[in-house]
């Protein structure tokens, strides 16, 4: 019976099946946004999403990836394509419901920050094959983390459409995203 249950659970896991690559990239999660609301992989308004794993005060790749996301969102919005930028924190000690909203809003007013308890975050990391490792403690900024840095383009249901390497420029990244999305009427 236990084996049957395990098989049923495995069969119900969409993560690997929905990945466009032979690596788990996408799947269900349930976290808390900066407004204290529960948010899953599905956008409540059915909008497409750009999802990145990082932290709000990260000075490394996030300082490039988060503004890139904002610019891509604006570029697509000009074509009538609504996309929500989402950051899932890898540093829940630093990014709390109370603190993560303000720095993200400076990057883009629509930015959603997501945090949660260790278990809930690990579900999201595992779904997207994101490894998180504390590297060292900066005396000014706190812990510095190593973490995956691809941008994930998700549809409104939370299914992964494709990856965007954070090294692309805005035009290239928007062009790829645009090829998966259609303007809303």
């Amino acid at each position: 019976m236990r084996r049957l249950m395990a098989l049923l659970c495995l069969a119900a896991m969409p993560a690997a099946a929905q990945s466009p690559f032979p690596v788990a990239i996408g799947g269900p999660y349930s976290l808390t946004d900066q407004f204290g609301q529960t948010r899953t992989q599905a956008d409540p308004d059915g909008r497409a999403q750009l999802v990145f794993f990082g932290y709000a005060n990260c000075l490394n790749i996030c300082s490039a990836a988060l503004p890139l996301m904002a610019q891509v969102v604006d570029d697509l919005a000009a074509d009538g394509i609504a996309v929500t930028p989402v950051m899932i924190t890898v540093a829940p000690d630093q990014d709390t419901v109370e603190t993560m909203g303000a720095p993200l809003a400076e990057i883009h007013p629509d930015f959603i920050g997501l945090t949660g308890d260790t278990q809930a975050l690990q579900v999201a990391y595992d779904a997207f094959s994101v490894e998180v490792e504390p590297l060292f403690q900066d005396p000014e900024y706190g812990w510095i983390y190593s973490h995956g840095s691809f941008l994930h383009l998700l549809d409104g249901d939370g299914d992964t459409l494709t990856l965007l390497p954070p090294v692309l420029d805005v035009t290239q990244a928007a062009q790829i995203a645009r090829s998966y999305l259609t303007p809303q009427s």
Binding site: F21, P22, V23, N60, S129, S146, G148, I176
Partner: protein
């Protein structure tokens, strides 16, 4: 040179949306590079942000999570999704060990959105750092090795 790289990448990024990617088994020989510095140009010319000149920075970038690439001998850049048992595209022990090294990689190529993604199943050979260019460029960027006097 940088504009040539940008143009080549832009040209690659044009085809329509990819769907479930079909992989092709490939063997590629090239250098494991730091894709951020290679494409952004912020740290120097493409020739300077590879090899021994850029080894330290490549370690920092990989440790920070920036995806690594494999710069093949023909100039093609493959975005590395995974190497052997490391479950990440940057920062893992294997990728840190291989930063700036020339390797022969056996794996699966997934062409998607005009980009080349590589899942390396086996590093067939690791030739260490073969692009010894620090005599030409110094350490790029110089601040990647902290000044012990500061």
């Amino acid at each position: 040179m940088r504009s040539l790289i940008i143009a080549a990448l832009a040209a690659l990024a044009l085809p329509g949306a990819g769907h479930a990617a079909e992989g092709t088994r490939v063997q590629v020989t090239g250098e494991i590079i730091d894709t951020w510095c290679y494409y952004s140009g912020v740290m120097g010319s493409p020739d300077a942000v590879v090899g021994s000149a850029h080894h330290t920075c490549a370690l920092w970038c990989s440790a920070g999570g920036i995806p690594v690439g494999l710069l093949a001998e023909d100039g093609t850049v493959y975005m590395v999704l995974k190497v052997e048992d490391d479950a990440q595209a940057a920062g893992g022990d294997t990728l840190l060990r291989l930063a700036a090294h020339t390797v022969e990689a056996d794996g699966m190529l997934y062409e998607r959105d005009g980009l080349n993604y590589l899942v390396v199943s086996d590093v067939v050979s690791d030739q260490d750092i073969t692009n010894v260019n620090h005599n030409d460029y110094g350490n790029v960027p110089s601040f990647s090795i902290p000044d012990p006097n500061k």
